[in-house]
């Protein structure tokens, strides 16, 4: 076999792999466009060194595009390109990274960045340093009243700002309270009339109710309500699912109303679920709360939620043995900015948000470029279910809990080989792909159903991997089953 990757001093990775680069692509189209540009043909003046990568790419115009990648700025990789694309990173940055990952000689090693690259690189790094030095960023937004630590500003001005923030927070809490009262009322009305009518009424009433919650500044409630619209059309058993979700909304509304009676962590969870979140900067400004670890990037998934693209990145801390979930948003068709290479590990600090099962976190400074990853320790099927149950105690609204299943075997539905189409997609009610699939423990007669919505490609890849024996899978274990995201296979990571 080939020699292992050589890592330079200070943990600086020499080159990324093509897979790591591809994981950064905002979407499939960019990934393909990037691969097309990963040949030396269009590139000139390309080079790398000093933690950066640059090159000029001949496009259709007369002037070549100038592409720069900052490989290990304190805030993770950064990209700049003179092309008009709104994708981030753009195909030129991806192509250049792939070219470099492939070890093409056209990317000269060890030079200094040319002037057109250096300006931006310098600015970016200075900004990162300033940010790191500055600590708490300005006045905290009025979110969690009282929790935001006042900065080290000067007296009266600072106090006035804090008071104003306090006032805004109190106003928002009032609006939310009014919103939850309205929500409780509407849920009660719904049950008075009966759910049976919901099938005919369609999405509109839910959209309207969601809009009311947006007005009430409770985006968490709005998002949950919007999801309800799809349930009546989701096939057999929908009344049960709709009742369950309505009941959980009701629970959340009551929780908000009576938050003062709740233990602090549960009250935090309620606030978060309603839609009050702390600013990441505030969270990270508390040096005591930062957790430094080697964080393994377990998986990255994008989902469209309304006009937003929500990217979820799951991490696992090697020393603490703890999971973390990072969220990043992209508006208006843009890819979320946060992109981490699945399977690699980051030496980084992060801070957990309060509540919600202590899972969501904000990523703080990183130290060096991504390191080679490792295979995370796993658990069995029973432990996975128990873990989810424990999580529900802290956050009854949790849909699932991240966990690594060890030594499991994918079991296709018994009719998989005969039914037309792929993975029994024709079976109603369970979304495309996953109907009837299970992940069974290799050594015991227990299994988890695969969550609906899991893509057929992921399932088949998982089954193919199991040709060489039981597999280790990372995913979310929840009430709808297990949603697989990543597998490990002979020490190598396989995104599903």
């Amino acid at each position: 076999m080939a020699p292992p990757t050589v890592f330079g001093m200070g943990g600086q990775a020499v080159r990324w792999t093509a897979e790591q680069v591809r994981a950064l692509a905002p979407d499939d189209a960019s990934r393909r466009a990037g691969s097309k540009l990963s040949a030396p043909g269009p590139w000139t003046e390309a080079g790398w060194g000093n933690g950066a990568l640059w090159g000029q790419c001949k496009g259709s115009g007369s002037k070549p595009y100038q592409t720069v990648v900052d490989l290990d700025g304190g805030q993770g990789p950064g990209y700049r390109c003179s092309c008009p694309s709104r994708k981030f990173p753009c195909k030129h940055a991806l192509g250049l990274l792939l070219l470099w990952a492939g070890g093409e000689a056209v990317v000269a090693e060890g030079g200094d960045p040319p002037e057109w690259a250096d300006g931006w690189l310098g600015d970016r790094r200075r900004r990162a340093e300033r940010k790191a030095a500055r600590g708490p960023a300005g006045a905290p937004e009025g979110t969690n009243a009282g929790q935001a630590a006042a900065g080290t500003g000067n007296g009266a001005d600072e106090r006035a700002r804090a008071e104003a923030a306090h006032r805004r927070a109190a106003q928002r809490a009032e609006r939310i309270t009014a919103g939850t009262q309205e929500l409780e009322q509407r849920l009660a009305d719904l049950l008075r009339g009966g759910l049976a009518g919901a099938e005919q009424r369609g999405y509109a009433p839910w959209e309207e109710m969601a809009a009311r919650m947006v007005d009430a500044q409770a985006p968490g409630l709005a998002a949950r309500i919007r999801e309800l619209g799809a349930i009546p059309g989701s096939g057999e058993g929908w009344p049960g699912r709709l009742l369950a979700e309505c009941a959980l909304l009701h629970l959340l509304a009551v929780g908000w109303r009576r938050a003062a009676e709740l233990p602090a962590p549960l009250a935090d969870t309620v606030r978060t679920r309603v839609g009050l979140t702390l600013e990441a900067a505030d969270l990270l400004s508390d040096k005591q709360a930062l957790v430094r670890d080697k964080w393994l990037v377990l998986a990255q998934r994008d989902a469209d939620e309304g006009r937003l693209t929500v990217r979820r990145v799951w991490l696992y801390g090697r020393s603490a043995g703890r999971h973390a979930l990072l969220l990043s948003y992209g508006a208006g068709g843009r890819a979320p900015e946060l992109a981490l290479p699945v399977g690699a590990a980051l030496d980084a600090e992060l801070a957990y948000y309060p509540g919600s099962g202590s899972l969501r976190a904000a990523l703080g400074p990183r130290y060096g470029a991504p390191l080679p990853g490792f295979q995370p320790p796993g658990t069995g099927v029973r432990e996975a279910l128990e873990g989810y149950a424990r999580m529900l105690r802290e956050d009854p609204w949790a849909e699932g809990r991240p966990c690594v299943l060890e030594r499991v075997v994918p079991v296709p539905p018994s009719d998989a080989g005969t039914a037309g189409g792929t993975a029994g997609a024709s079976r109603g009610g369970a979304g495309p792909g996953a109907a009837g699939w299970h992940l069974a423990a290799a050594d015991e007669e227990v299994a988890l159903p695969v969550a609906p919505g899991t893509g057929a490609a992921a399932l088949w890849r998982l089954l193919a991997l199991s040709a060489e024996g039981p597999v280790t899978v990372f995913g979310e274990c929840g009430h709808r089953g297990f949603a697989p995201h990543t597998a490990w296979h002979q020490g190598r990571v396989v995104p599903l």
Partner: protein, 588 residues
């Protein structure tokens, strides 16, 4: 749980180590997990009790759902109010979610067969993933319009597969689905892809109806050393494709056994099946097949008869070939009248029943005379060895040079070309194809077909001189006949011709076919010689606008593809360091 909505005790608050509490925890079934549970057969008494309790709870939830569906206006809900109903439903929902128990798995997949081949080098594995990803639906392949300066990855897959199979590598399991999809989409790649994918792909294909084709086409690699009774069983009971595969496999191992197998059921086969089976005898055709083929000449189906006759004519020692030789000798004779020493042709005046039985089609295609049509078929089916003796002991080249009386030359030469290809007769093909520098329009035969009969080195040399003399406009099929990679002289001739075409002011897409071939077939070792061509030249007077830039782009793609091929082959030879992340061993 302290949110004040219900009275339900959270199950996980019980001490997990307590046996009784544990039992109770397990009683909170969850609907989705439970379905499978009920299929389980062997229950102990405790389990029965659990089931009963579970059922009761299921009914409790069902009651809540029924009340919610109906609405409090119609019936008083459990608990007396909608708020109580929502409280109870919330408690019940969380309780059911927390109490979910493992499902019982259904039939597990059978153990996958072992694959003893060595694994791919890491870099080669990543390359394969990239090639397959490019092929995926909506990929950057030919479908996405104008080709840029980058290589067309999908087109490199055949070469990669052939090379990997030559090395005898095992396919990485994670890529088996993509390989099966590729084999499904491209039938031309199917055999090579399935050979590489190996036994585990067949195992995987059993679970997905989309990959059923692999089970049929894969038989080829499973049956060859099958036991006789197994062979008989598949032959008697198998699907058509399985039987074709079986016949081909047996044919490779023991040609006569295959003919015997076919003869055993011949009478009962359908006409279109007979035709396909007969066609599979083409490979490894031998004189001992003659009796069977002779019988097939009397087949009920006209197409079966014609195919049997065609196969017999490819056997120069067959009785049919001898009959054809007799007939042909009667038609083509030395010209004794003019004293020129040429050839006289007397085309047959009728197509009798015996001729028809030997596969001569009586009815000509429109626009051709009957007699010329019959003559052509006769000469094409007659063994070429006849002519030396018949026309005075001359060599093929001498015979072809002879004048032919009464304007029959083109008909006669075209028939000889057909015969040379059918009988794979290299001396005749060589003589008929002529010098590559000859004016192109002259010859009656198809040079590409004749070329296919010649040995590989000769093909390359001939094609090189052909391209040098005629340029590229007619070269596509000729080039397609040459072995890959192209010999250096051929490669240089093609590149020179491309350069000439560019300088003549044409656009590169007029040569996109040849360009594509060159990307796949040029020897990568000659790459750097081409580098200067990739520069964008200054626009010249009278040149097609923008042509220079397009040519530069085409040459850039050519270069990029060649470099990629060279890297790709080095990766498969494990000469490229693996730059992938090295991970500690599992649990290590």
């Amino acid at each position: 749980m302290t949110v004040g909505t219900g009275t339900g005790r959270h199950p996980r608050e019980a001490q997990p180590s307590n046996g009784g509490a544990r039992e109770e925890q397990e009683d909170h079934g969850h609907v989705e997990y439970r379905e499978d549970r009920e299929k389980r057969g062997n229950h102990e008494e405790r389990e029965d009790r659990g089931n009963r309790k579970e059922r009761e709870e299921q009914e409790g939830w069902g009651e809540l759902v029924a009340a919610a569906l109906l609405g409090a206006e119609r019936r008083r809900p459990p608990g007396g109010s909608v708020t109580a109903l929502l409280d109870a439903a919330a408690t019940e929902t969380v309780r059911r979610r927390a109490g979910a128990r493992p499902a019982v798995p259904g039939q597990r997949p059978a153990h996958a067969p072992a694959d003893g081949r060595p694994p791919l080098p890491g870099a080669a594995e990543r390359r394969l993933a990239a090639l397959l990803a490019d092929r995926a639906p909506g990929g950057a392949g030919a479908a996405s319009g104008r080709r840029g300066a980058g290589p067309d990855l999908g087109e490199l897959l055949p070469q990669w597969l052939a090379e990997a199979n030559a090395h005898g590598y095992r396919a990485p399991t994670a890529l088996l689905p993509a390989l099966l999809d590729a084999a499904r989409a491209r039938t031309d790649l199917r055999a090579e892809t399935l050979a590489f994918a190996g036994p585990r792909a067949l195992w995987l294909a059993r679970y997905n109806a989309d990959w059923k084709f692999a089970l049929r086409d894969g038989v080829r690699r499973r049956a060859p050393d099958g036991r006789p009774d197994e062979t008989e069983k598949v032959w008697q009971e198998g699907l058509f494709a399985e039987r074709v595969a079986l016949l081909t496999a047996v044919r490779r191992r023991d040609p006569d056994a295959a003919t015997a197998l076919l003869a055993s059921t011949w009478q009962t086969e359908r006409a279109e099946d007979r035709l396909m089976f007969l066609d599979s005898l083409r490979e490894g055709l031998r004189l001992s097949d003659e009796p069977f083929l002779e019988r097939a000449l009397a087949d009920r189906s006209r197409t079966v008869r014609a195919t049997a006759a065609e196969l017999l004519t490819a056997l120069p020692g067959s009785a049919l070939a001898a009959r054809m030789a007799d007939r042909a000798r009667g038609c083509v004779t030395p010209d004794r009248t003019g004293g020129s020493g040429g050839i006289a042709v007397t085309a047959p005046s009728a197509c009798d029943a015996d001729m028809q039985r030997d596969g001569i089609a009586p009815k000509p295609p429109s626009g051709r005379g009957e007699r010329a049509w019959w003559l052509g078929q006769l000469v094409e089916a007659a063994p070429l060895e006849v002519w030396g003796e018949q026309l005075g002991g001359a060599t093929p080249a001498e015979i072809i040079a002879l004048p032919v009386a009464d304007g029959w030359r083109d008909d006669l030469h075209a028939a000889w070309c057909g015969a040379a290809v059918r009988q794979r007769n290299a001396p005749w093909a060589r003589a008929l194809i002529g010098e590559p520098t000859d004016p192109f329009a002259e010859g009656p035969g198809d040079p590409a077909k004749l070329l296919s009969v010649l040995p590989e080195e000769e093909r390359g040399a001939w094609a090189a001189r052909f391209v040098a003399a005629h340029g590229l406009s007619e070269a596509f099929r000729v080039l397609g006949m040459c072995g890959v990679p192209w010999p250096l002289p051929l490669g240089r001739a093609v590149v020179d011709a491309l350069e000439i075409a560019r300088d003549a002011g044409s656009y590169p897409w007029s040569f996109s076919g040849v360009m594509g071939l060159a990307e796949r077939c040029l020897d990568p070792s000659d790459t750097e010689r081409l580098a200067p061509l990739a520069a964008v030249p200054d626009e010249k007077e009278g040149e097609s606008p923008g042509a220079g830039a397009y040519w530069a782009e085409s040459f850039q793609r050519l270069l990029a593809t060649l470099r990629l091929r060279s890297v790709m082959l080095a990766e498969l030879r494990n000469e490229v360091p693996d730059s992938g992340p090295e991970l500690p061993a599992p649990n290590g």
